[in-house]
């Protein structure tokens, strides 16, 4: 398998007046016959894939039918999340991967591609000095996987 490269996105930090580089890729997410196209952040610090709850009605998802779970941010504040299965297709890849994702109320961004659900399916290299990061599809036979979730 070959690495597929993506450029970092430049985002302005207003208060400090500097530019932050974010590893963003375009993602199609699917539920049934509905889809949504967005720019998402590759976030190794997130345990799971997190999505803004605003996206659920666009996909026709009733969050009350999803499994509820707690989500805590870096400051320890707790919010309610809703665990649902969705399809994900990554920019420059053809395959749709079915993953578990958590829809979160009041998420400041739209989508974070975290460890369970994304990093277990893709190998990722960050090379910000080249203004590039890269993805490679991981082998299907995942080993040493203690995750209790079923996909």
């Amino acid at each position: 398998m070959a690495w597929t490269e993506y450029p970092y996105s430049n985002v302005w930090h207003g208060e400090q007046d500097f530019v932050i580089k974010q590893p963003r890729i375009e993602i199609d997410i699917f539920k049934g016959n509905k889809s949504f196209h967005q720019s998402a952040i590759v976030d190794s610090g997130s345990d799971l894939i997190l999505l803004s709850a605003d996206i659920a009605p666009v996909l026709g998802i009733n969050l009350l039918g999803c499994k509820s779970m707690s989500v805590r941010g870096i400051t320890g504040s707790r919010v309610d999340g809703y665990l649902c299965e969705i399809g994900v297709r990554v920019e420059k890849f053809e395959e749709i991967v079915h993953v578990l994702a958590v829809f979160v109320e009041d998420l400041h961004t739209n989508m974070l591609l975290g460890q369970h659900g994304f990093f277990r399916h893709f190998r990722i290299k960050f090379e910000q000095d080249r203004n590039m990061f890269a993805l490679e599809r991981a082998p299907r036979n995942i080993v040493n996987d203690p995750i209790a979730f079923e996909e």
């Binding site: 450029p7 302005w12 208060e15 199609d28 196209h37 967005q38 420059k92 961004t109």
Partner: protein, 70 residues
């Protein structure tokens, strides 16, 4: 859908040139080469119904006065 759009993934994605304070805490729809904001709204469902460009890229824009550890 990704497979039907022109491949602009290697172009610079400089959001500093198209996003500003007026977009904070809103959903935005960008054109596929990241050169234009097609629309913005606090309500994503309403925005998706307004935007006719099937290749639009959606994002939610956080306030720019903080750094984020998501």
């Amino acid at each position: 859908m990704i497979q039907n759009k022109k491949d602009t993934s290697d172009v610079s994605r400089d959001l500093t040139k198209i996003l500003n304070k007026s977009h904070e805490n809103k959903w935005v729809a960008l054109n596929s080469d990241y050169t234009e904001v097609l629309g913005s709204s606090g309500n994503l469902m309403e925005l998706t119904q307004q935007i006719l460009d099937k290749n639009a890229v959606y994002m939610k824009i956080p306030p720019a006065d903080s750094v984020y550890a998501f």
